[in-house]
């Protein structure tokens, strides 16, 4: 018992703890530090556990079905050949392409609208109007994705269906690339607008005044000087926007149509993204059909990471040629 007490005292001395007050201080500090380590460790836990489950289909024999071939998994054009639980022929190749395709298309739509809205809010609109517009954008950002999904299912699907019909194309309930792209661009619009606005507002007044003094019109200044100066910030908004588009799940799963093969490039074809594939038909919590979702999750994380890296590289290249 005595020995035990000495041991504690030794520890206390080594941490420079001499009084009761300092013991409390020490423990408070310890609790804070443990909380911090817990918070920081979650990213490791996420990666480790998803990797652990996701690698299973490739290294085990999946209850006699045989290991999934990684190369075929990444390059195939049909999600599952054969029946569930009786086949190991899964592939996400076409889904990767679909995911990137719809994300890029929605960025293509949302980007100009978002940047011009940001320009309007930051430079053109009178103070009152711009604060109203800012609130509108904030509200759009606050709407949960499931409500966008509902809007997609209730408004955009019928719209796409009728639009296809007038063109003489049969679209299955409107579930299509077009519907997915519209919903996604609605969802990333507030992100792009908010971030671009910050970038545009941080452009120095002297640059603007310089341009005006040289005889450029206001519109010329806005488009040729301010937007080009804010290029780097605008690009960051695009990176965040595409990140959101790639990772969006519920809204997309309601309008994509979950095609089982592809890739689908035609705007009225049904499509499927990595996220919608993960969500569809989750029934069992063991076996290959369950584990393979984690593999899709790994693929999604890698796709997001690579897209971010490429865009960051481009941003560096583009951002350097700045109007100074």
């Amino acid at each position: 018992m005595k020995k035990n007490k000495n041991w504690i005292q030794n520890i206390m001395r080594s941490f420079h703890i001499n009084s009761k007050k300092e013991i409390v201080d020490f423990f408070v500090r310890l609790i804070f530090m443990i909380s911090t380590i817990i918070s920081a460790s979650f990213i490791v836990i996420i990666v480790a556990f998803i990797a652990r489950e996701g690698i299973k289909p490739f290294v085990t024999d999946n209850d006699g079905l045989g290991a999934v071939n990684l190369f075929k998994f990444l390059s195939g054009r049909v999600w599952l050949t054969g029946t569930t639980f009786q086949s190991n022929l899964y592939s996400v190749g076409f889904i990767i392409i679909n995911t990137i395709y719809v994300a890029l298309l929605s960025l293509l739509i949302a980007m100009p609208i978002g940047v011009l809205t940001a320009l309007f809010i930051a430079k053109i609109a009178p103070k009152k109007l711009s604060s109203i517009m800012r609130t509108v954008i904030e509200l759009l950002a606050a709407i949960p994705s499931i409500v966008y999904g509902l809007f997609g299912a209730g408004v955009i699907l019928p719209f796409v269906y009728n639009f296809a019909k007038t063109l003489g194309i049969q679209s299955p309930g409107g579930n299509s690339v077009l519907a997915t792209v519209i919903v996604l661009s609605l969802m990333i619009l507030p992100t792009i607008t908010a971030l671009s606005e910050v970038a545009i507002r941080s452009v120095g007044k002297d640059i603007e005044h310089g341009s005006l003094a040289l005889g450029a019109t206001k519109t010329q200044t806005h488009f040729k000087v301010i937007l080009t100066s804010a290029k780097s910030g605008i690009f960051s908004s695009a990176i965040l926007g595409i990140g959101r588009a790639l990772g969006e799940a519920t809204a997309v799963s309601l309008v994509a149509g979950n095609s089982q093969n592809g890739p689908s490039f035609g705007i009225f074809q049904t499509t499927s993204t990595l996220t919608s594939t993960m969500l569809q038909g989750l029934k069992e919590t063991i076996g290959i059909d369950y584990d393979i979702r984690f593999s899709v999750g790994i693929v999604l994380m890698i796709v997001i990471l690579i897209t971010n890296m490429i865009l960051n590289y481009v941003k560096k290249k583009v951002g350097n040629v700045n109007v100074k």
Binding site: E22, D25, V28, R29, F32, M33, S35, T36, S39, A40, F42, I43, I45, I46, F49, I50, P112, I113, L116, T117, F120, M133, V136, I137, E138, L139, L140, I143, P144, S145, I146, V147, G149, L150, F151, A153, G154, V155, L189, T193, T219, Q220, H222, G243, R244, L246, G247, E248, A249, T250, L254, T275, L279, L282, T285, G297, L300, M301, I304, N308
Partner: protein
């Protein structure tokens, strides 16, 4: 300035105006759509009713005295009243848009009060009530009166008889009470888990941590969480928290605790950032004054720094609640999609947002009820947003 230049400028301006009006257009479209489809179902019963309808089979002994109550004046023209049996019914639609026959009035001396529960003789509370839905009345010697043929036909059939075999009726169902309670539980549990960890982390990073490489790495690891899509958090919940909770609690499969733990991880970066921001604006003079008076670091933190950071923590809490209410992708995995009426934190059930998802993935999709739930969610999110804005405005003025 040349004419061409002017025209080009005008064109660019117009494009800008059109683009910026698109945001407003989308917001109003969403709001109009949700209200138009959902407002019809909004009433207090929706919030208090169960989702799963309870079915009853009421049998009756020989009836000797019938009702004497005349048609009450309070009934509408649509109500069809049987003065013999003292019951009024009308044609209606249930929450999935299917036609039903619902009870709108039962007279006090109605012989239907003599009915007993055929499935459970001991059930003495058994009676048919207003808002119950009659699916069929079965007779001994003629075909049953089904709700399919409408309320009028049903009453006519009933009036012609002095006896029936049984009335099959049910509660209305389709209510969201279960999902609402689940959402509230989830918010509470998540905050209990996430707030202390998040606040402590923010305090450690801002008050205690040395500015070295280790702290920078910790910070960037937490920052990385914000970039992870929510469905990945859901997979994490499925792989980590669901097995954990099934092992140490009575739960089997996804449950409220695993869902809350998953949400807590999603919320951590939000809470940490918001708390840290409010810690940063506290002037160092406060800390120095406290330390100079002989308080140690932890006393300073709890008695001086934390009270001043309260508005920031409150903002974080409101933002967190908003996120919990709207979250769907992560919860589909981490909490499950089963809609339940009896809620236990160890059991399966689902929040309002996932309830919408279930309604929309059903065949056929129930847009009306989904819109009604969306109205509720949107109103809550709107209130939270406005509070955050007012809070930060007031707070910024003071600082």
């Amino acid at each position: 300035m040349s004419n061409k230049r002017k025209k080009f400028d005008k064109l660019l301006q117009t494009i800008t105006y059109v683009s910026s009006s698109i945001g407003v257009l989308i917001l109003s479209l969403i709001v109009i759509f949700v209200i138009k489809n959902g407002v019809g179902l909004i009433n207090w019963d929706l919030v208090t009713n169960d989702y799963h309808a309870q079915f009853y089979n009421g049998g009756i002994e020989e009836v000797t005295t019938f009702s004497n109550t005349p048609r009450p004046a309070s009934l509408d023209d649509e109500d069809i009243y049987s003065d013999k049996w003292g019951i009024a019914v009308r044609d209606g639609l249930d929450r999935e848009g299917k036609p039903i026959v619902e009870v709108t009035y039962v007279a006090e001396d109605s012989p239907l009060y003599l009915m007993y529960d055929k499935n459970n003789i001991d059930n003495l509370d058994f009676k048919i009530e207003v808002e119950n839905v009659i699916s069929s009345i079965k007779f001994e010697n003629k075909p049953s009166a089904l709700s399919l043929y409408g309320a009028e036909n049903m009453i006519n059939d009933l009036n012609a008889e002095n006896q029936f075999r049984e009335i099959v009726f049910s509660s209305l169902g389709g209510g969201i009470r279960g999902s609402l309670i689940t959402t509230l539980y989830t918010i509470g549990l998540t905050l209990i888990i996430a707030l202390p960890i998040g606040i402590f982390t923010a305090i450690y990073l801002n008050e205690f941590a040395k500015k070295n490489r280790f702290t920078r790495i910790i910070r960037s690891m937490i920052e990385m969480l914000t970039g992870v899509p929510s469905i990945i958090f859901g997979l994490m919940g499925l792989a980590v928290f669901v097995p954990l909770t099934t092992k140490y609690t009575p739960a089997d499969g996804a449950n409220l605790i695993s869902g809350s733990l998953t949400l807590a991880v999603i919320l951590l970066p939000i809470i940490i950032r918001s708390t840290e921001e409010s810690l940063k604006v506290i002037p160092d003079d406060f800390r120095f004054a406290s330390l100079a008076l002989g308080a140690n670091n932890s006393q300073t933190t709890f008695k001086v720094v934390l009270p001043s950071a309260l508005p920031g923590i409150l903002t974080a809490t409101l933002l967190a609640i908003g996120r919990v209410i709207g979250e769907s992708a992560a919860l589909i995995f981490a909490i499950g999609t089963t809609i339940k009426d009896d809620i236990s934190i160890f059991g399966k059930s689902t929040t309002l947002a996932v309830h919408i998802w279930s309604l929309l993935t059903d065949e056929p999709a129930n847009i009306e009820l989904a819109s009604t739930i969306s109205i509720i969610i949107l109103i809550i999110v709107l209130i939270l947003n406005i509070s955050v804005k007012l809070l930060s405005k007031k707070y910024l003025k003071r600082a």
